[in-house]
């Protein structure tokens, strides 16, 4: 099986490299590679053009090794505990569909399959360790290799342990009560460890609660973590974390035996497991492959449509209707619930800060959130031609002009993102006046804020529309650059492509705003010069009208290109 692993890995790497080199014949990937490599060079090796400071990266980590060891060991304990007690954790050992097809019916032992999986995981672990080392920029080669080797061993133990948990949980499920009897030891260890830590904190609670400084609380917790029963419980985790955080080669060598012992223990545990994982792994591989191949699952089939589509009317409305349904079907209560922790954190921070309390803090939060929505919303909301590129063959059979099709496509993201931006602007406008002191200027302040809010509400859709048109223009003009399938191209060249596209979008946005801004600025200046009054809403309206006009013209031009676009020019996403 070891030979098979090396053969498979060599073939995979060789073919992947060949494919990457082949695609460099296309200018988009070659340009992307150059841009991606320049980005890597400046960001990773030169930090934006500044010479590499000696104090950064690993050397800094070495200085805070104590707290890092404590936090790292707690983190590892949390991973181990979660693997045992979390309902969704402990999934079967992941094999690909091809691996299931070739290996599960081959005359290969169960132990050989586990070895294969372990070896296969080494490639990703080694690569991940190397990348982490490069990003943390070791000050010397010596500290670099100790960090990389330490991280590698740490990740290997984690991987082995998670594999062991998966096997043990399979065994528990298969054997029922007798399974619990046979797998009691690791389960008891984890639960016991948590109990010991909890009792250590409870025992030291009088001392902890008397401390007022958060730094002192942390130091006390750190002390608890290395003394007494809690120190013993956290020792295996600390022993692992010590390895990559070693300040010197000598420290690394002294930490190595304990880490290797843990590695060996987990290895023996995994090999001695009697769980039959093949069936569960095969089912898991099938499920993963189906999920990857299929488009995102539609959440609700009975969700009502945004409005009733009349039998007569412009095609743009029909496309808007279709794309709004898309949003409604994919956004679920669960999606919104995922945002709940973020909102709670924001709320708590807001409540704690500022003399105006919750209202003023929320109002202050609305501005960046509105800006975030306006600038990044059009990139995230893809219910337009970017999404429909996969259906272009169908769209091309419709009796609809290209310009009308694009107009219909850009409407949905513009509407959705604008509504979200308006909500933030409205919320900010309502809450902001409360923060104002109730002196004689309050009415003026309110009027100014209302004017600013209206101006922002007018500008927001224009900026969103402009960006959405640019995003759709990319889909029309450079369809091969816009991924149409479920997967995305990977590699430095693909990263460079995305960076180029982002730069292009920002430049185009600036260029589209410039004419309107110049006209509006000139008008505002003249009015101010003559009357002394500062215009807010009118300039915003002018900018919005000019941008809308530009978008109309751009869509007409793009429509002609789309009418001539050959579907065969669009290659499927890799």
């Amino acid at each position: 099986m070891v030979g098979t692993f090396f053969y498979l890995t060599a073939c995979t790497m060789k073919n992947r490299l060949r494919r990457r080199l082949q695609r460099l014949r296309e200018p988009r990937y070659l340009i992307g590679l150059v841009v991606g490599m320049l980005y890597m060079y400046f960001v990773v090796f030169r930090r934006g053009g500044r010479p590499r400071p000696d104090t950064a990266g690993l050397s800094m980590i070495a200085r805070i090794a104590g707290p890092m060891q404590f936090l790292g060991s707690l983190f590892l304990l949390a991973i181990a505990a979660a693997a045992w007690v979390w309902p969704g954790a402990g999934q079967p050992i992941a094999f690909s569909r091809a691996e299931v097809q070739f290996f599960f019916q081959a005359p290969v032992t169960r132990r050989a399959l586990i070895h294969f999986k372990l070896l296969r995981s080494q490639v990703a672990i080694l690569f991940g360790s190397a990348i982490a080392t490069v990003f943390l920029r070791p000050g010397s080669l010596a500290s670099g290799w100790t960090f990389m080797a330490g991280l590698w061993i740490l990740l290997m133990v984690v991987r082995l342990h998670l594999m062991g948990v998966a096997l043990s949980r399979s065994s528990l499920a298969a054997h029922g009560t007798s399974g619990v009897a046979r797998q009691w030891l690791p389960l008891t260890i984890v639960l016991g460890a948590i109990a010991v830590l909890a009792s250590a904190v409870a025992g030291d609670w009088p001392a902890l609660s008397s401390l007022t400084d958060s730094g002192d609380v942390f130091k006390e917790l750190q002390r608890l973590g290395v003394t007494g029963a809690a120190g013993v419980v956290l020792w295996p985790f600390r022993a692992l974390v010590r390895l990559p955080l070693s300040g010197s080669a000598a420290e690394f060598w002294s930490a190595l035996p304990a880490a290797l012992a843990l590695l060996a223990l987990n290895y023996v545990w995994v090999l001695r497991s009697d769980a039959a994982f093949e069936e569960a792994s095969a089912a898991h591989a099938e499920k993963r492959a189906t999920a990857r191949a299929a488009p995102r699952a539609v959440v609700r089939s009975t969700a009502s449509t945004p409005f009733t589509l009349a039998a007569e009317g412009p095609p743009e409305t029909a496309i808007l209707w279709k794309n709004l349904i898309l949003v409604g079907r994919y956004v679920s209560l669960r999606t919104l619930l995922r945002l709940l922790p973020l909102i709670i954190v924001f709320g708590v921070i807001a409540q704690g800060g500022g003399r105006g309390g919750m209202a003023s803090a929320l109002a202050a939060m609305c501005l960046p959130l509105a800006a975030f929505t306006v600038l990044l919303g059009p990139q995230m909301m893809r219910n337009d031609l970017r999404q429909d590129l996969a259906n272009l063959a169908l769209l091309k059979t419709w009796p609809v002009r290209g310009a009308a099709l694009i107009r219909g496509e850009v409407l949905a993201p513009t509407v959705v993102v604008s509504v979200v931006a308006w909500l933030f602007i409205l919320l900010g406008a309502i809450l902001a006046p409360r923060a104002a002191s109730p002196d004689g200027t309050a009415a003026v302040l309110m009027a100014n804020r209302a004017s600013l809010a209206i101006a922002a509400a007018i500008l927001a859709p224009a900026i969103i529309l402009s960006q959405t048109v640019v995003q759709n223009a990319l889909a029309v003009l450079f369809p091969a650059w816009v991924p149409a399938g479920p997967s995305r191209p990977r590699g430095i060249d693909a990263m460079g492509q995305r960076l180029l596209m982002l730069a292009g979008i920002l430049l185009t946005l600036a260029a589209s705003l410039l004419p309107g801004a110049l006209i509006a600025g000139a008008l505002a200046f003249v009015v101010y010069w003559i009357t002394g009054a500062t215009l807010i809403i009118l300039p915003a309206l002018i900018v919005a009208i000019v941008v809308a006009g530009e978008c109309w013209l751009a869509i007409e031009g793009l429509g002609r290109v789309l009418d001539r676009t050959d579907v065969s020019a669009i290659d499927a996403a890799e």
């Binding site: 299929a294 488009p295 995102r296 699952a297 539609v298 089939s301 009975t302 449509t305 589509l309 009349a310 039998a311 007569e312 009317g313 095609p315 409305t317 029909a318 209707w321 279709k322 349904i325 898309l326 079907r329 994919y330 259906n391 063959a393 169908l394 091309k396 059979t397 419709w398 009796p399 609809v400 002009r401 009418d563 001539r564 676009t565 050959d566 579907v567 065969s568």
Partner: protein, 242 residues
């Protein structure tokens, strides 16, 4: 009426269709057959405007698909071999969307008839993910037939259908032809072509090599020795049979 004149379609240096001409009159059901890679799908995709012809002209009811695509497409329906549906629209929503795009006013009554005809009753609110491949094919066909097109193009129309679906599909194609529609059927199922088509066009390497009714093809001197079945004629015409 579909009129294809000197159609050429190239992909880079590869010529998929080479100076291909044929006409299909109203009421005709033409079978477009050829080996894999012969250029059938490229031809169909050029006719319906999915791909642009590299050279030549295509008119649908007198409207050029390149110069007046909206007018030409309004008269067309293309049923691809792989049904293309929106994952997030129900069956009924697909029909409503199609009705709006093709200006069909009485969508509810027409949809009801088509849903019954294609045995989709009870699936009106189903999403594509909840349908079998055959059912999806039927939805695509319902969308294609909704605006009562003058010209219908079918690419492998029987793929994924059950025996009852196959029977219904054959009846649909024949009845549309009899009602005066212009129909092109591209398929590898030669017995289907033989059964429902009034004329056959054979294409190979992008070039038309035979065009006529089955009787006309049998009567051609170079194919006379092939026998009476379309299969034998096809294999001889495409030189797949020594």
């Amino acid at each position: 009426m579909i009129d294809v004149q000197h159609l050429t379609k190239t992909y880079g240096t590869f010529k998929a269709v080479d100076d291909f001409s044929f006409r299909v009159e109203p009421g005709e059901v033409v079978g477009l057959i050829g080996p894999n890679g012969a250029g059938k799908t490229s031809t169909l995709r050029c006719i319906v405007g999915i791909q642009a012809p590299s050279a030549g002209t295509i008119t649908i009811g007198g409207h050029d698909i390149v110069k007046a695509p909206v007018d030409a497409k309004r008269r067309l329906a293309f049923m691809a071999d792989e049904p293309q549906l929106f994952d997030y629209l129900t069956v009924m929503e697909h029909l409503r969307l199609t009705a709006r795009l093709y200006h069909v006013r009485d969508v509810e009554s027409r949809a009801k008839v088509l849903i019954e005809e294609l045995t989709l009753t009870g699936k009106e609110q189903a999403l594509p993910a909840e349908l079998s491949r055959g059912m999806k094919q039927k939805v695509a066909i319902a969308c294609g037939l909704l605006h009562d097109p003058d010209a219908l193009l079918f690419d492998e129309p029987l793929t994924g259908l059950d025996p009852l679906g196959i029977r219904h599909m054959k009846e649909t194609i024949v009845s549309r032809g009899r009602a005066g529609a212009t129909v092109i059927v591209s398929s590898h199922l030669l017995h289907l072509v033989e059964e429902i088509c009034t004329r056959i066009v054979i294409i190979d390497h992008g070039v038309k090599i035979a065009d006529g009714t089955l009787e006309e093809l049998k009567a051609r001197p170079e194919l006379a020795a092939a026998g009476s079945s379309l299969e034998q004629i096809f294999l001889t015409a495409t030189a797949r049979e020594p």
